[in-house]
Symmetry: C2
Subunit: 486 residues, 2 copies
């Protein structure tokens, strides 16, 4: 290479001090998922095009692969990069059904790719974390509660602005619309879904003109959509609207169970909310639906989502229902990092820089470093025997908190270069305070409103495509959620 390369738009990369944060986020998620019995898998980055193309409008965002050495006409390989983790997971389940035990709880933390127009929070390459529970033939409802609780627990441990898990239930709203006598509940759902873009009176007009509702019926639908509670209080509010339907009863009970199931996780850093306007990809979700928002960063739209789908996959003999949630790691972290709101205090994992009095002492310094490592203390030896002042600045520039010195008498001292305190220490036994063992996340003003100016919120989204009847299909109205299940 002979000139300075420039970043590729839509392909964010992190500096080492930022990557620590991402890695810690991934470790925290993984740890929580595993505590709940979710097994980690990875799927290959590529899927056959025919699988990827079944996803409606997302197809045009697929990156197709071609081997350079293929024939001169540039024939495609028939493969493309996956644009989510659900299509590959469904394929993996079918391919390995005979070797998996059901219920199959899996987590998957991987990159995905979409060739869409890059903007803040929407990247062409992004990392996401998915959990799903999949069963053969029938999946008991309690797994809806479980995935909500597991993801809530995992997310509430992250160094992010407060997150909000919004939950709704398709049975609830479909039952309600049926209960008021709507002939085409799906049409109502599609129109109600526009509430975050259109004023209520325009939505009401559409409900009358396009879904054939009366003015009173339209009003009832809008009233339902205004209901939002952080506990199961929504049940009484829905009941007060006076609509009766068996499916509504089931939906109310399910949504209440999910909201109550997450009660223990609720905090000022993590909100759980029954949100009856949430419509999210309801053409394939069949019950619970989720979306995740980052408080103060709502312009990013959802940073995660998911739901229950009664046919994640089917091989003709068996059907595999599932329920899952996806969290957009890049989608949430990268905007914070690019605004300078999130990083860590070190550029290296080292806790200690072992100083080097002269090049001849390198073996001795190496031995000290190895003794420290044996106790789990990450460290490095100075690259060259500069003056100690320069070695201390070397540590400072990297955020390494301690410098280790060996005196002429063979005595050891360790200096905390933040406080300047220097004490005698034994490399065989010394360890730093627990909080110095790893780089620390530095989160700045992350709960405040982001400044205007460097944001590109609310970019164009497309209309839902017809026939988009699979879970997590590519494009529905809420396309902005590009790092998650839809």
């Amino acid at each position: 290479m002979s000139a300075k390369p420039t970043p590729l738009s839509g392909f964010p990369e992190l500096l080492p001090e930022q990557r620590f944060v991402e890695q810690q986020v991934i470790d925290t998620l993984r740890r929580t998922f595993e505590l709940h019995g979710f097994a980690g898998i990875e799927t290959r980055a590529v899927e056959p095009m025919d699988q990827l193309l079944r996803k409606g409008e997302t197809s045009k965002e697929v990156y197709v692969l071609r081997r350079l050495q293929a024939d001169a006409e540039g024939a495609d390989s028939g493969m493309g990069l996956h644009f989510d983790l659900t299509v590959p997971f469904a394929r993996y389940v079918l391919e390995n059904a005979g070797k998996l035990e059901f219920p199959f709880r899996r987590y998957q933390i991987q990159k995905a790719w979409r060739g869409e127009r890059p903007q803040e929070g929407r990247y062409r390459e992004f990392t996401q974390a998915d959990i799903d529970v999949v069963m053969k033939d029938e999946l008991p409802f309690h797994f809806d509660v479980e995935v909500a609780r597991v993801m809530a627990e995992a997310l509430s441990g992250l160094p992010l602005p407060p997150l909000r898990l919004r939950v709704n239930n398709r049975k609830l709203i479909e039952g309600f619309y049926r209960g008021i006598g709507a002939a085409d509940p799906q049409a109502v759902i599609t129109i109600i879904d526009k509430l975050d873009k259109l004023p209520a009176d325009q939505v009401a007009a559409l409900l009358r003109s396009d879904a054939g509702l009366s003015g009173a019926q339209a009003d009832q639908c809008l009233q339902l959509a205004t209901i939002s509670t952080t506990d199961s209080g929504f049940v009484d509010k829905v009941r007060a609207l006076g609509v009766e339907h068996e499916l509504l009863d089931t939906g109310l009970a399910e949504l209440a169970a999910v909201i109550d199931g997450c009660a223990a996780v609720r905090s000022d850093r993590f909100e759980v909310e029954a949100s009856l306007s949430l419509a999210r990809g309801l053409d394939y979700y069949t019950g619970t639906v989720f979306e995740i928002y980052m408080v103060g960063f709502e312009f990013l739209k959802s940073v995660g989502g998911g739901g229950r789908y009664d046919a994640l996959a089917s091989d003709g003999r068996s059907t595999y229902p599932g329920v899952g949630i996806s969290f957009g790691i890049s989608r949430s972290l990268v905007p914070l990092m690019s605004r300078g709101l999130l990083s860590s205090d070190r550029r290296v994992p080292s806790v200690v820089l072992v100083a080097l009095p002269d090049e001849e002492s390198r073996p001795a310094s190496d031995a000290i470093a190895q003794a420290l490592r044996a106790n789990g203390v990450a460290c490095e030896v100075a690259a060259s025997a500069q003056k100690f002042g320069k070695q201390i600045r070397y540590a400072e520039r990297r955020g390494i908190p301690y410098v280790w010195f060996t005196g002429r008498d063979g005595g050891h001292e360790v200096k905390d270069i933040r406080s300047g305190e220097q004490v005698a220490a034994d490399p065989a036994t010394w360890t730093p305070p627990e909080q110095d063992l790893r780089p620390r996340v530095v989160s700045t003003g992350s709960t405040t409103e982001p400044s205007a100016g460097n944001t590109e919120p609310h970019a164009g989204s497309t209309e839902p495509s017809a026939g988009n009847n699979e879970p997590h299909a590519g494009n529905t109205e809420q396309t902005a959620s590009n790092e998650e299940k839809q």
Copy 2:
């Protein structure tokens, strides 16, 4: 999806019980790299084609990306998937040079892609782990010793057949060839590199015909190549050949330093060997060169490699020399797994299955599970309230070692289903023995010779391309090393 999908050749995927092993390998590598102060980074999967195409013959293996929605002629995006981690790392260093501190120690554990013919140990998608130290302008030699030791330490902790790190030094052999009066040392190197494919007398003939050596000179070269020692004993053996050259002296000292520097890591699971026949990509390596072999699986060729390169990258103003080693994770693990030699004893991370007496008891069982998780014990609650015998078999099929029962009196008992032992226990305090906390790696007969029949070793390799003067360029004679630096 409506039919059972079949695996894609060259894109290996793991079952959950296998993925545990891969994840543990990655964790072990990462832990060791970080203890030595190496910072983890990830680079995007794609690079501009002009960067990828500078790599000689590998170019034809590059997967080019095209957006499906691009114009009808299928114009390429100008990007391709990276085929190693060195090209992207060199680009990352240049792009971020102003934001990095040098020496920059980095590790990178990621997938790469090559569209070559799949065979055992050579995949189209594969994961590899790279460490490199990069400096601005000049990189002291002690980093050669450091990367060897760090990788040796990391690899010696893996649940693999014994590994052998072979080391040589380009200065040593070039100095030797110059010392005997060879007019074109590079030609000698290229021919000596054929020793693993051709008998010694044919190589000698080539040295005479193509490198212009006398019979005596050719003999000396062959004698040098036979030298291989597990300590610095090679120095005396080379000296005994009576050749003198300044470059030879430097090379001998450097190789001895690397071999001695790895002495502490040497064990019956990890061998370090000065191997003077090793020629590995010597057109761009400038000093130390490495290759890694898996004992008993030499037919896979090397499962890793690397070396010192005096110009990893250059932006016209500055040059960035580096030294690094790459280890092929897929390349070493997948052949063992596909032969059934390596797996783990669980399909789930759960240590405990909390039994469910009846569906009404689910909240109580959930509470027990949460108490266990609070102590770091991964667990899951039974999916349904089957008879306890069935719940135990449910645990057995997953490899979960313990089942937790609650008596009608509210008392708790935990059963080790391997021994049948059942004891009273308190969910607030119980923890399993340390070795049960995580799935255990099960390694079967991995040190025995693999059976013939399902191997495809020694597939065709191509001649080195001319002008291949960059580190880790694509194809040189030892192309079989497809998961590593070359």
